[in-house]
Symmetry: D2
Subunit: 257 residues, 4 copies
């Protein structure tokens, strides 16, 4: 039987849909409106165990999914939602062993997903010009043991990338159209390029720039996640949902000498 | 410069959005309404190269993305679309090294995606009761070099699974509610369970069964993919789209002795 | 120049999207966090005028649209949203002069829309078994001067309807499948039948009942309203939206002797 | 019992969802792949009657809904879909007695819906610069007996409108931002202005122009219609749907001297 150990990243989920993601540490405790739980009481429990706070509130002790990890990141910025991130993996052909470049580290959510998808032999190179963001991303990656697969680089993207022949490149930047030359220089011939943008104006601006670039096979897509109330006798979509995260743009790099 | 070699899986994409995925083989040729291309003329070309058919039609020579691979599978059955598959990876915590069980191999599209996500050290066990489907899935996996990561098992799910302690389990079956006991026996405590179903009736039936099962944290979700016409001066959603693929249901297994 | 008069129904809209719908009455005043406005100061103003509260907050003085009227109803129940109501008018062929029966008056929102669409020569018959709801609906209709076009009837639908040969019938009831016989008795041959239901289970139950009924040409549809942030340089869908109101079901009555 | 008469507009709907809308005329016949029906055999039938073609195919004889009428218009142009038109009625406060101006008659579908909503005492003024479109719209309106409520005017919108103090104005034009001054001159103070546009670029351009105009309370919205397969035991959204018709923009005219 698999049991939890100190150092494990765990998800504690209450029956009323409140959840916590944290690392089990000797002597630490989780405090919330639903009561106190001592980490020492959680260590050695089977995964999937139901445990009680000192107030008698029931929690389930679980390994966090990738979705859980990303949703519980400490963040200073908008994250790439898992619905988008999963699809980006499919469209950029991300697999174990890939070398992937990311521009716009932000809180490190997408870097986390990319690192987990390319490990153990692949590598992620993630650029950001803000030191505070990279420090946060570093902590977020370290907490889940993925910092060893990511090179965080503090640099303005305008100055270009150190890497060449990377398999895929993802931009989470407000004005990606300025950096297509830098992108092309880093990407392998035929490589995958992707981007997320919140507004239609940005998408149009980018599409104009892509027309004058060595990129081809441009696609623009959007994913809408519709959650349902999981009640068997009264199945229905949720009343209030997230209506928009971002537009996804994908392209491929043509061969260059 | 990276170039293509015999045995590579390639994507040829025409300017008018017709695409082909195939393995480069000495002496073979690709014939279509857009003209003929000899594989021998493609071998040794740089990735991302534009090539011409004997009719002068231009194609771009690319590595297929996971999305491309799945869309071009030979299939006898409905496939799990990449928009859904990518999100399933996020929700089931699939990563390199995971052991994942699938029930309902179908044409092997989801097995392909799972294999690619857990390789090189993980493993996929995929069950189906139809021999023809498994033969097709085997060919589809072999073509892209992923058959080494998948154990295809010809068996009715009612008879249970050989594996125990798998990290995640995915059901692509018409009546998953009959097999929750078998699922629980195969899954590790706390493990991830997921499922795709086309109709609301099936979702309700499943939700009833999950209430009487050792599964918890049930979620029902749906993803709608909205493609846009990538024209910078006239950006707009596509006129006709796929309106539905399936409902996704996720749950976690509670600890059992 | 058209100006406001005592007795007019007005919409006051602040710049920060707070709005009020009320009847102009001598001596009355509107009080809110944005300050006080005297009705007497509003009477005689041109429509479309910008006026200030005693706190200097600017409001625009307007005739309410049907959408505004319905959104500002006093309500004790879920209303039929204007996006759904407008489409229902199109599907049920509602036009001036029609006789329309409604079962499930609720707060009177749909009765208001129907009354306005069939006036001056048509008529709405609206049934509800709850006296408090009908009293509320009566006040809501009277406030906007439409009570003269609606017969509110306090009765359980199981007991049938007084009317025959009505052009269209709309059900806003939790279990419409029990009352299809009563519906058929009230509707003209070939007449329009419609219904709104929040859950998929109800839709299925209704579809079964419709198969054993004199109704044909059954359609199930749903409308999703996606509002955008109206910022020209940063156009994008709203972040949080209403994800579900109800499923619409439509059918036509076959000829009966 | 209500029966059909010569001159009636009828909908004939086959069991396999093929439908025809036409005017009953002595001596005429309907021919299709599903067989021949003589109008003379249809006259005098009860509404809602099932009739057979000479090939034994069954059709239901019905009054067309507004939705049916618009879907069966003869058209040379994109129409405003009923899902959008119904909502436009709600947002523009269209009701019997209103005077409504439309710019961009097209095939007359929206004029038909507006005419039906404002009759018998209201009026629609519909402008178009193409003679062929207006001729088509005139025939479409006459066929359903609504031409008496619509003034069709052949004119370029740049030259302005004859009317003043109209209650509402609807633009179905590619570049509405050029004609806001003309719109303001025709609309009553506080009046309703609406517009449909297919691309995001047009919406942005319009939003810029509205900022410099006497219009306020600008809203941008979009409606997505999701049809379901009406099968009680296998309820599910349709596989392929219309993904986009147009963006709706609404605004109100501020008071002007």
């Amino acid at each position: 039987m698999k049991i939890t150990a100190s150092g494990d990243v765990v998800l504690l989920q209450s029956r009323d849909h409140k959840s916590f993601v944290f690392v089990l540490q000797p002597g630490a405790r989780l405090e919330s409106h639903r009561g106190i739980l001592l980490h020492d009481d959680l260590v050695g429990q089977p995964w999937g165990q139901q445990v009680e706070s000192h107030l008698g509130k029931v929690f389930t002790l679980l390994r966090p999914s990738t979705d859980d990890l990303v949703r519980h990141l400490k963040r200073n910025s908008q994250i790439v939602y898992p619905k988008d991130a999963g699809y980006i993996l499919m469209k950029l052909g991300i697999r174990p062993g890939c070398h992937v470049l990311e521009a716009g580290t932000g809180s490190g959510g997408m870097a986390l997903i990319l690192a987990q998808a390319v490990m153990p032999t692949g590598r992620v190179y993630s650029y950001d010009s803000r030191e505070d963001m990279q420090a946060l991303a570093r902590r977020n990656l370290a907490r889940v043991g993925l910092d060893g697969y990511v090179d965080l680089k503090l640099r303005d993207v305008a100055q270009g990338f150190d890497e060449t022949d990377v398999d895929a490149l993802f931009f989470d930047l407000p004005a990606p159209w300025y950096y297509l030359e830098q992108a092309a220089a880093a990407l392998v011939n035929g490589g995958f390029w992707g981007c997320i943008l919140p507004t239609t104006n940005q998408v149009s601006e980018l599409l104009y720039a892509l027309q004058r670039s060595p990129f081809t096979m441009v696609e623009v897509e959007e994913l809408i996640l519709r959650p349902y109330k999981p009640v068997p006798a009264r199945l229905r979509p949720q009343d209030r949902i997230i209506g928009h995260t971002g537009f996804l743009v994908f392209a491929r790099k043509l061969a260059q000498e």
